[in-house]
């Protein structure tokens, strides 16, 4: 069943177009994460679904009911805000129960519901405190409890963890995942943190400059980015993107005469054709000494990650990053040789669209 459908939605502030027509169908119970760089319109889209932002054109329907003209409270959405937005003068219980109070629920039932929700996020001991006396993580829990207590049709999260420290963020991520499994409520989560996005999402929506670039399962997006932007944006460290063209023998020539043998990409290896070749750092392997098909490079610097390391190397005037698990000492200026797994990506140099190497 479709929980939310977004049809050609646009947003304009004065003369500036923020969102240029977004289409999206969200199934009931899905966990959707909207990911994009800052200013891409992801929060605006979320706020339009919530009803906090007017919809310039297009339609948003929640459970087959067009909500364009409805007030936020009539849409059945609950939202968790970035800065928690708790009422400072109310206790935790007051904050959680406020929506029910507004809705006119009697006090005994209200208290019962608040207690139940508070227990599910581990807040039952703090109900009498005020937000000012809580830690960041606890405030975040209150904000989530406040959203849950109304038993909404849709949860909206607007970068809720960006004020938490790294460790707490991981813990809250787990919490959100667990709650979603328990409650099964359709959720839309906006973030600019791709780890958060990859780990939480059933489906990921990548936005850029007011457009949806790609929608898909996290693995799908990682393995088959549809555009140069997505390829560059998803994955840490970022994908190596080399601009170059094919020579008469079908080799990919880049930088100052560097040649890479590309076995796949049949039919696209037209001599003189320019493309962008994408290689994930984890697909780049270091070989011992030069071999057939390897490309030589010079180590620029090494980033130690603990279990592995990133080798930043110069290859024919281009920069290449390789994920390496070796422990051999590599200092700046050391010559190295790389080989690639065949997991290559190719993108058109003109419009950045993916060129299918292994047609699906």
């Amino acid at each position: 069943m479709t929980a939310i459908s977004i049809r050609n939605v646009k947003k304009r502030y004065g003369k500036a177009d923020i969102i240029h027509g977004v289409d999206l169908e969200i199934q009931a119970g899905e966990f959707i994460v909207i990911l994009g760089p800052s200013g891409c319109g992801k929060s605006t889209l979320l706020r339009m679904i919530a009803g906090l932002e007017e919809i310039t054109a297009g339609e948003i329907a929640i459970e087959d009911r067009v909500v364009n003209q409805l007030e936020p409270r009539e849409r059945g959405c609950a939202m968790v805000f970035q800065n928690y937005a708790l009422y400072p003068h109310m206790t935790v219980a007051g904050n959680i129960g406020y929506a029910l109070k507004v809705a006119g629920m009697a006090k005994p039932q209200r208290e019962e519901r608040v207690l139940k929700v508070a227990q599910s996020v581990g807040l039952e001991a703090l109900l009498a405190r005020r937000p000012g006396e809580l830690s960041g993580g606890q405030r975040q829990r209150v904000a989530m409890a406040r959203a849950m207590v109304r038993e909404p049709k849709v949860f909206l999260f607007d970068e809720p963890f960006s004020n938490l420290d790294a460790k707490l963020r991981v813990a809250m991520r787990g919490e959100v995942r667990r709650l979603h499994r328990q409650l099964g409520v359709t959720s839309i989560f906006v973030t600019h943190d791709q780890t958060e996005a990859m780990t939480l999402a059933d489906r990921l929506v990548i936005m850029n400059g007011g457009h949806v670039e790609q929608v898909g399962k996290p693995a799908e997006i990682y393995n088959r980015p549809v555009s140069r932007f997505v390829a560059d944006f998803i994955g840490s460290p970022a994908m190596n993107l080399l601009e170059g063209e094919f020579d008469a023998e079908g080799h990919f020539v880049h930088g100052q005469g560097g040649r890479i043998a590309v076995s796949s990409l049949n039919g696209h290896r037209v001599p003189g054709r320019k493309i962008v070749l994408g290689i994930r750092p984890e697909a780049v392997k270091r070989t011992i000494g030069p071999q057939i098909g390897t490309i030589p490079g010079i180590v620029d610097y090494v980033e130690e990650l603990g279990g592995s390391r990133l080798i930043h190397a110069e290859v024919n005037g281009n920069r290449l990053v390789a994920l390496d698990t070796d422990t051999e000492e590599l200092s700046s200026g050391t010559p190295v040789h790389f080989t690639f797994d065949d997991a290559l990506h190719a993108f058109s140099i003109e419009d950045g669209k993916r060129i299918d190497i292994h047609p699906a």
Binding site: L52, P72, A78, F81, A85, A103, G132
Partner: protein, 305 residues
């Protein structure tokens, strides 16, 4: 920069002590004079040490100026003005800060401009409105020709008249518009994060509910600070009550009555009674300030929460 040296400390304390003396001396003189007998108060030079006639002076002043009912009157007027000012200020600031309409900034600046038009400047038009609060509507009807139309058709002459002179309404209403209060509230409301407004929208509360259940509780300290200032200033109002009340016995305020306590040109120079009256008149605002000062300071200083 905070510098700590014993010399600097000494200077600071000296300045503070001097300020204290300057402020406290008039009060002391009033208190001392109120406790003297008639011969003592007439003595030159000024006596600076209290005597034992305070109670009899107080009761003389109380009965001569009829202070009982007058204090009650003043309390009603000052209280009414204070409540009215806070209500108006909070509501207009609410409108200006949280609603988006075309004339928003115009309204704000119009309110702000009235800071430059205190009562003393607009006293004549204000008086004529108080004499007939419906005067503007009458003028409107006259100008549009409706009055003459109705007169020719129905033979009835429309005369709108609502006299506010000699009434609590007249004493209170013209004083409750306040640019200062609106401005103070506006500044406070602008510190409320947008997300809080949005959270309450998501929780389903309408604007008035947000106003009463979120804004008002959050602005409590501001409100008390404002109330303190407003109460003292309206207690001290002299010109306006003097103008709109001709019926002194029923609607006179204490500050006006103070005049009655000043010795007549050729009467007994009993300044001790005058001072006792002054003491009684300034007591309520003093008590209010003493009681509210903790809130008062907090409301004007703190920006957090």
């Amino acid at each position: 920069m905070i510098e700590r040296s014993s010399f600097f400390d000494f200077v600071t304390y000296a300045v503070m002590a001097l300020g204290l003396v300057i402020i406290i001396t008039p009060f002391w003189i009033v208190l001392v004079a109120a406790s003297l007998s008639l011969p003592e108060v007439a003595r030159v030079p000024l006596t600076l040490w209290p005597s034992s006639h305070l109670m009899e002076n107080l009761s003389a002043a109380w009965s001569r100026a009829d202070l009982g009912p007058k204090l009650l009157n003043t309390l009603v007027v000052a209280g009414g003005v204070t409540i009215g000012k806070i209500t108006i200020a909070a509501l207009s600031a609410f409108s200006i800060v949280f609603f988006n309409y075309r004339a928003r900034m115009l309204c704000f600046w119009l309110i702000f401009l009235t800071l430059m038009l205190p009562l003393e400047v607009r006293i004549v038009p204000t008086y004529s409105i108080a004499a007939n609060a419906l005067l503007p509507f009458q003028a409107l009807l006259d100008a549009t020709g409706i009055t003459s139309l109705v007169e020719t058709i129905a033979g009835i002459r429309i005369e709108l008249n609502w006299n506010l002179l000699n009434s609590y309404t007249g004493l209170i209403l013209p004083l409750i518009a306040t640019a200062t209060g609106t401005f103070l509230y506006r500044q406070f409301f602008m510190t409320i994060p947008d997300e809080l407004v949005e959270a309450s929208k998501m929780d389903g509360s309408g604007p008035m509910r947000f106003f009463f259940e979120v804004l008002i509780p959050l602005s409590r300290t501001n409100m008390l600070a404002l109330a303190t200032i407003m109460f003292v200033s309206s207690w001290n109002q002299y010109l306006w009550p003097l103008l709109v009340t001709t019926d002194r016995p029923n609607y006179g305020t204490v500050v006006m009555e103070l005049k009655a306590l000043i010795p007549a040109q050729n009467g007994t120079p009993d300044w001790n009674v005058t001072m006792a009256g002054a003491l009684l008149v300034m007591l309520p605002p003093l008590l209010v300030v003493a009681f509210m000062q903790r809130w008062f300071v907090r409301g004007l200083i703190t920006k957090d929460k």
